[in-house]
Symmetry: C2
Subunit: 253 residues, 2 copies
Amino acid sequence: MSDVDVPLPSGYELLWGLRERPRRGPKPGLSVEGIVQAAIDLADAEGLAAVSMSRVAAKLGFTPMALYRYVESKDHLLSLMVDTVVRAPPPIDPVGPQWRPALETWTWDQVTVLNQHPWILQIPITGPPLTPGQMRWIEQGLRILSVTGLPESDKVAVLGLLASFALSEARLAVDLSSAAVRGDTQGTAPSYGDLLRRLIDPQRFPAVHTSVVAGAWDEPPEYTDEDAKFRLHRVLDGVEMLVERRAREASAG
Amino acid sequence: MSDVDVPLPSGYELLWGLRERPRRGPKPGLSVEGIVQAAIDLADAEGLAAVSMSRVAAKLGFTPMALYRYVESKDHLLSLMVDTVVRAPPPIDPVGPQWRPALETWTWDQVTVLNQHPWILQIPITGPPLTPGQMRWIEQGLRILSVTGLPESDKVAVLGLLASFALSEARLAVDLSSAAVRGDTQGTAPSYGDLLRRLIDPQRFPAVHTSVVAGAWDEPPEYTDEDAKFRLHRVLDGVEMLVERRAREASAG
DNA sequence: CCTGGACTGTGTATGTCATACACTCATCTG
DNA sequence: CAGATGAGTGTATGACATACACAGTCCAGG
């Protein structure tokens, strides 16, 4: 048993199920999954700011401190939320030489997940993926890439690039849709175009001014899946070029 | 004077200098710029979490409430921070038919700014750009794109895409560098590869396992400008294809 | 069966935070 | 010079994360 070989960042033993079930004491009335799910529901409904230990506990009918028996800190809870949301296994058959469409689906599924839970974008980065849910995605991605013959480090880099693309797309979608919901107070909310018309001095910002009078800002550019797919294809073009280059290097050197 | 035509989101009159200087009363001991700069210094030094009204005020030798004479809320202060950081005018000569290299520089400058102030990535999106600093970038970008003949709405969309790319690159850079600084407590911090060796079950995650033993995770993939530029070129390829398509549409229809 | 340890949930306390409100004092306009 | 206007402060409120000590609850071993 090489248990205590490598010290794990605290809280991860529990996550990976490396801690044995306690035999004594009362039965737990809560569960990590339940807590995380309640937090996710809160974030989906009212945004990440609504996720406080008190609110989550109240939603479950417990006191705030009860959560700390299951979760190490709020930061830990946040990373568990990300992990759970991401955990849904991508339904791809990774076998076969068709790596490009599989990789496209792999990335697109991530975009979808992120768009369903946009609060993920506000959770600060704490470190590289260390949770089972994230690991499942990486496993899937690596299997897809296995037929490319890329060196392992390149595979990892490609997955990082695509994950980053998914984040970028999700952020773009949030940006554009938030532009639509701008004025939220009264019924006569000024549109973004109206605001710019008020603020933009033609002398100082001539190019912006002409785009404003052209109405380019009046309705925010629709975020369409079509456009996003187009961008994704460009990125995959880049990956394909990398695969070919590595193949040439291998046959040459 | 069409002053009160369109109600402005409160706080923006001040930002755009639309409020006349008060004549009476004591002279201000603080300034918006000073407050914002102090907040930026704090965020650069200790991260966004260290930016509290108290800390900022203390740094300036005032009480927390004094800041509210200059800044409407903490959220407002945060958006001012973003605006200030972004304000540095991109030193591009936008005239001339060379839109592609100019646009590359335009985007790259944003990546650079974001990498210098990674806390920007944690600031929640509140809405479309409405500050003078952001407007300066947009003005510059629109000028660059003026020679493309794109319709105004497409220009706006292209700038949105590139800005989003910059955010994505910055996030990727943060991710990769944070992977390096993982174990921060004791001298014998386990590397990411060590952790994975401990956690990954070959049965459950065979592909990850082989990549781990191949050492693909032992040193995090270096974030190089070269790679990033490569990705940017793919995105610009997409823009170029859009420009050509629009040109064809214009000559055909 | 019983007892002591292990464990769960709670109550309470601390320190931080954003921000509202009422106040004092300085400064300028009339 | 007077009153208005605005700057900075002090104090208060309510939310928050979390430490600590406790009470009740369950189980293994005697």
